[in-house]
Amino acid sequence: MKKLILSIALVFAVVIVKANDSSAYIKAMKAKIEQFNKSQSLEELQASANAFERIAQKEATEWLPLYYAAFGYVKMGFNETLSLDEKDIYLNKAIVLVENAEEISPNNSELTALKGYALMGKLTADAASRGQTLSPQVMQTFGKAIQQNPENPRALYLMAQMEYGMAQFFGSGTEKACAMTQQSISLFEKNPSEGIMPSWGLGGAKAMLSRCQ
C-alpha cells in the first residue's frame, strides 16, 4: 500500500514537474509579451528583445521566443531617430532571428510575414534608393505568407499596407488595398489569437481602414 502511494506520489510529482516546466515557459512568455506590448522606447524594446532571446536560448525547440525577439528588432528598425546604418543593423538582426526560427518551424506564415515586415523596414529606411529592388521582394514575401496561411490576418494587413503605398505611388485607386484591409480585420475578428501566439495588428488595420474612408 505504501509502495502504491509512493508510486502515485512519484507519478504526480513527475507530472507536476513537467507541467511546471512548460508552464514556466508559458508564464515567462506571457509576462514578457505583456511587457513587450507596453514597450515604446528603443531601450524598452531592446530589453524585451533581450528577454525573448534569453528564453529562446533555453527553449531550443520553440519558435515564438525568436519571433518576438525579431519583432522587437523590427520595431526598433522603424525608429525614426536612427541613422540608416543603425536601422539596417536592427533589421538585419531581425531577419537572422526569423531565419533561426524558420529552422525550428518551417513554412510558418507568421515568420514569413515578419520577415517581410523587416524587409519593409529596410525599404522604408531609404525608399528613394531601395524602392525599385526591395518593393517587389517585400510584396513577394507577404504573398508567400498569405499563401502559407490565407487566414493569417497580419500577412494580409501588411500586404494591404504595401498595396496602399504602391497605389499612392502610381496614383491608381486604393480599392484593392482597402478591400484587403477589410478582409484582414474580418480575419482578426474571426480567429482571435490564443495564449502566446502573435496577436498584434488589429489596431493598425483599423487605423488604415479609417484612411480608406
Partner: protein, 719 residues
C-alpha cells in the same frame, strides 16, 4: 498532527532554502573605450535568468541556479562574452568589457577609385537602376557610366574613356570573368554600344583606378558587372521599340531560375525617317539571343551559366579627305559569349568563387575592294579561395589563366597574321581592420606570359580612414600592366607590357540622401607603344618607348533629398594628360582626353502625370587634334562639346511603360576632331574636314509590357 507539522516545517525549510540559494549578480558593461553600453543582454546560459544593461551600463539580476554556471553577455556589434561563475548565494559583482565586432555595415570601406552601384550602401554614387534610367544613356550600360566622375565622353566612339586613358585601358568583367570584345564592332566614327542587356545586372563596381589585385591587364579601369542572383517571379517582358523589339521569359523555381531572351534591332526604318549626317547603305542591325540559368547549391552556394550569341552588320559610304569618291565600308560581326560562375561557402571562415568564360568574336570588314577578317578568342578561367581569419583579418588567393587567340587576314591575297598566348596569374590580397574606422588592403598580382616569355609582379595597396560618422578618406596605390593592342602585337610578338602607376586620394561624405565625393589622382605611364610609320594596317618601328601621365581631380555631388521627389547628380572632372605614343615625337594630349568634363543628371517622378521625367547634360572643353598646317603636334582644339538629353517614362498602368527619349535635344553641332589630306592642295595647305556626329539627335520611342501574376511588376529596369 505531528506528521503534518513536520511536513509544513519541511516545506517552509525548503522554501527558505530556495530563498537562501538565490545569487545576486550585478555589474557594469562597457566597451573597450570605456563607454557604458546600454541594452547588452546578460544572462546565465540555459536559464531565463538575466537582465539588460541600463543607460549607465549597469545591470542586476538574481538567479536560483547554483554551482558552476556560464554567464553570457551579448550585444549587437560586439563579440559575445563568456565567464564561468560560481553561484553559491553570495552576491557576484562583475565588470564586463565587450570587444567591438567589425562587420560590413559598421566598418569603413575603401572608396578610392571605386564607385559601386548597390542599393544597400549608404554613400550613393550610383544605383543599379541608374544604368537604365539615366537619360541619354539609351539603355547602354556604358552610357550611364559615362556620366560619372573620371570619365570623358567621346561621342564618335561610345566606349568608356577613363582619366586620360584610351578605351582599351578599361576591362569589363561579367560575374567576375573577363569579357572579350565587350563592345559591338563598328565602323570608324560610328559610336558603338556595350553588348549586354542592362536588366541582366543587379549591381556593378566601377573603378577609375587603384583597384584590387584581382584585376589585371588594364591600365586605367575595371568595370565589374554582376548578374541578378534569383529573379522573383515568372514573367514575360515584351518590348516594341522604334528601333526593334524583344521578348524575355523568366521562369523561377524553388532553387533555380531561368531567363531566356531574344532581341532584334534594325535602324533602317528609323533612318529612313530621321536624317543622318552619314550615308548608310545598310543601316546598323543586330539580333541576339541570350539565356541565363541559376541553380542554388547547398545552403549558400550559387551556380550561374550564361550564353549570348549575336550577329550584327552595317554598311556606310564614308567621306575620305584623300579620295574624291566615298569609301564603301561594311562591317559584319558575329559574337558568342559563354560564362559559368559559382560561389559557395565551406564554413564560417572559408569560401570560394570562380568560373570560366569564353568570348569568340569575328569581324569581317570590307573597305572598297579589300576584305579583312579578324578573329578574337579569349578564354578566362579563375578560382579564388577566401579565408576570413577573424572579423579583422581576411585574405584571398586566386589563380587565373587567360588564353588568347588573335588572327587577321586579308582575304583577297590570303595574307594571315596570327598569334596565340597564355597568361597565368596568381593574386593574393589581404584586408586588415585596425579598427572599424581604419582598414588596410594590400595585394600582389604575379603573372607570366608565354608569348613574350616574361614574368612580372604588380603590387597594390589601399587604405581607408573614417574621420567621423559621415566622412572618410581613402588612399590607393597600384602598379598596373597591360599588353598592347592585338593589331600591334600580331606584327611584333615581343612587344612588352605598358605600365601605369596610380596614386589616388579620395574623400567621401554622405549623409541622408546626399553624397559628396572628391578625388585627386596621378597616373604615370611607361613603356607605351610607339611606331615610326603606319598606313593604318602595317606598322613600322614598333617599340615600348613611350611615356606619359594623367593627373587631375574629380568632384561629384548627388542629392535625392533637397528637391522633392527629385534625384540629381553633378560631376566635374579635370584631366591634364600627355603621352608620347603612336608616331608622335613629343608628349601630346590624346584626342580622347578633354581637359574639363562636366555632367548633370536629374530625374523626377511626377505622380499626377504617372511619369518619370529625366534630363542629362554633358559638356567638355573640346577635343585636341593635330593640324598639319601648324607647327607642333596635337596643337589644336575643337570647340566645346554639348549634349542635352531628355527622357519621359509614362506608366499608365504599373505593368506598362511608354518611354520616349531624345539625345542632343538642342542639336549642338559637336565636332570630335578633324582629318586632313595627306598631300597639300595647290595653295600649299592640307585640306581639313571635321569629324562630326552620325546624326544631330537620336530619338527613341518604346513600349514595354510585363505579363505576370503580380500586376505591379514592370520593366522600369529596361529603360
Amino acid at each position: 498532527m505531528k506528521k503534518l507539522n513536520l511536513f509544513i516545517t519541511s516545506i517552509l525549510l525548503l522554501t527558505s532554502l530556495k530563498v537562501l540559494s538565490q545569487t545576486q549578480i550585478s555589474g557594469v558593461v562597457k566597451s573597450q573605450k570605456g563607454e557604458a553600453l546600454i541594452g547588452a543582454n546578460i544572462f546565465i546560459e540555459n536559464t531565463y535568468d538575466g537582465a539588460s544593461s541600463d543607460i549607465e551600463g549597469n545591470f542586476k539580476f538574481a538567479t536560483t541556479e547554483s554551482g558552476q554556471q556560464t554567464l553570457i553577455v551579448s550585444m549587437i556589434g560586439f563579440h559575445p562574452y563568456q565567464k564561468q561563475i560560481n553561484c553559491n548565494g553570495t552576491t557576484i559583482t562583475i565588470n564586463i568589457t565587450l570587444k567591438e565586432k567589425i562587420d560590413q555595415l559598421n566598418a569603413v570601406t575603401i572608396s578610392a577609385g571605386a564607385m559601386e552601384a548597390s542599393d544597400m550602401k549608404k554613400a550613393v554614387v550610383m544605383k543599379p537602376l541608374d544604368i537604365v534610367t539615366t537619360s541619354g544613356a539609351l539603355g547602354d550600360i556604358v552610357g550611364a557610366f559615362n556620366k560619372l566622375p573620371g570619365t570623358a565622353t567621346v561621342g564618335n566612339d561610345g566606349r568608356l574613356f577613363v582619366r586620360g586613358g584610351d578605351a582599351s585601358e578599361t576591362n569589363i568583367y561579367f560575374d567576375g570573368l573577363q569579357v572579350g570584345n565587350a563592345y559591338g564592332s563598328t565602323a570608324q566614327n560610328v559610336p558603338t554600344r556595350s553588348r549586354f542587356n542592362p536588366n541582366l545586372f543587379k549591381g556593378s563596381f566601377f573603378s577609375t583606378g587603384g583597384y584590387s589585385a584581382e584585376y589585371g591587364q588594364a591600365l586605367s579601369s575595371a568595370l565589374v558587372l554582376n548578374t541578378i542572383d534569383m529573379p522573383l517571379r515568372n514573367q514575360t517582358d515584351i518590348s516594341v521599340m522604334s528601333i526593334g523589339g524583344g521578348i524575355t521569359q523568366t521562369l523561377v523555381g524553388e532553387r533555380n531560375a531561368f531567363t531566356a531572351s531574344a532581341n532584334f534591332m534594325d535602324l533602317a526604318p528609323y533612318m529612313s525617317i530621321i536624317n543622318q549626317n552619314m550615308e548608310f547603305t545598310n543601316a546598323p542591325s543586330n539580333w541576339n539571343v541570350e539565356a541565363l540559368g541559376r541553380q542554388k547549391i547547398g545552403k549558400s552556394g550559387l551556380l550561374k551559366a550564361f550564353v549570348h550569341t549575336e550577329s550584327a552588320s552595317l554598311a556606310i559610304n564614308r567621306d575620305d579627305i584623300n579620295e574624291t569618291e566615298k569609301i564603301h565600308t561594311t562591317v559584319d560581326n558575329t559574337y558568342h559569349f559563354g560564362n559559368v560562375s559559382f560561389k559557395n561557402t565551406i564554413n564560417e571562415s572559408w569560401s570560394y568563387y570562380g568560373g570560366a568564360s569564353l568570348s569568340y568574336n569575328t569581324d569581317e570588314i570590307s573597305l572598297e575592294n579589300i576584305a579583312l577578317k579578324k578573329v578574337n578568342k579569349l578564354a578566362h578561367v579563375k578560382g579564388v579561395l577566401v579565408h576570413d581569419v577573424s572579423d579583422r583579418f581576411s585574405y584571398k588567393n586566386g589563380f587565373e589563366t587567360y588564353q588568347k587567340h588573335y588572327s587577321e587576314e586579308v582575304i583577297n591575297n590570303e595574307a594571315v597574321r596570327a598569334y596565340n598566348e597564355l597568361t597565368a596569374n596568381h593574386f593574393v590580397e589581404a584586408d586588415y581592420y585596425f579598427s572599424k574606422k581604419l582598414v588596410l588592403r594590400a595585394g600582389l598580382r604575379s603573372s607570366y606570359n608565354d608569348l613574350i616569355n616574361k614574368f612580372w609582379a604588380t603590387p597594390r595597396a589601399s587604405l581607408a580612414y573614417q574621420v567621423n560618422e559621415n566622412g572618410q578618406f581613402s588612399l590607393a596605390y597600384g602598379q598596373f600592366k597591360q599588353l598592347p593592342k592585338e593589331e600591334l602585337r600580331v606584327q611584333q610578338n615581343n612587344l612588352e607590357n605598358a605600365t601605369a602607376s596610380h596614386y589616388i586620394l579620395n574623400y567621401l561624405y554622405s549623409k541622408k540622401g546626399r553624397t559628396f565625393r572628391g578625388e585627386l589622382f596621378n597616373k604615370n605611364y611607361n613603356q607605351l607603344v610607339q611606331y615610326s610609320n603606319t598606313d593604318g594596317f602595317d606598322y613600322e618601328g614598333l617599340r615600348n618607348s613611350g611615356e606619359g601621365y594623367a593627373r587631375g581631380f574629380d568632384l561629384f555631388y548627388r542629392d535625392n533629398r533637397s528637391l522633392k521627389e527629385t534625384d540629381f547628380w553633378i560631376t566635374y572632372s579635370f584631366v591634364d594628360s600627355k603621352r608620347n605614343f603612336k608616331d608622335f615625337s613629343s608628349q601630346v594630349t590624346p584626342n580622347y582626353a578633354p581637359k574639363h568634363n562636366a555632367s548633370v543628371v536629374m530625374k523626377r517622378f511626377f505622380q499626377p502625370l504617372h511619369s518619370q521625367l529625366g534630363f542629362s547634360y554633358s559638356w567638355n572643353s573640346g577635343y585636341p587634334f593635330h593640324n598639319p598646317n601648324k607647327a607642333g603636334e596635337m596643337q589644336s582644339m575643337t570647340k566645346d562639346y554639348n549634349n542635352l538629353s531628355f527622357s519621359w517614362s509614362y506608366l499608365p498602368k504599373p505593368n506598362l511603360i511608354i518611354h520616349f527619349e531624345c539625345s542632343n535635344v538642342l542639336g549642338s553641332q559637336n565636332i570630335f576632331g578633324y582629318e586632313y589630306a595627306n598631300q597639300p592642295n595647290t595653295s600649299g595647305i592640307m585640306n581639313g574636314r571635321p569629324i562630326s556626329q552620325v546624326a544631330d539627335r537620336f530619338i527613341f520611342l518604346g513600349v514595354f509590357l510585363t505579363l505576370s501574376k503580380d500586376k505591379n511588376a514592370n520593366q522600369l529596369n529596361n529603360l
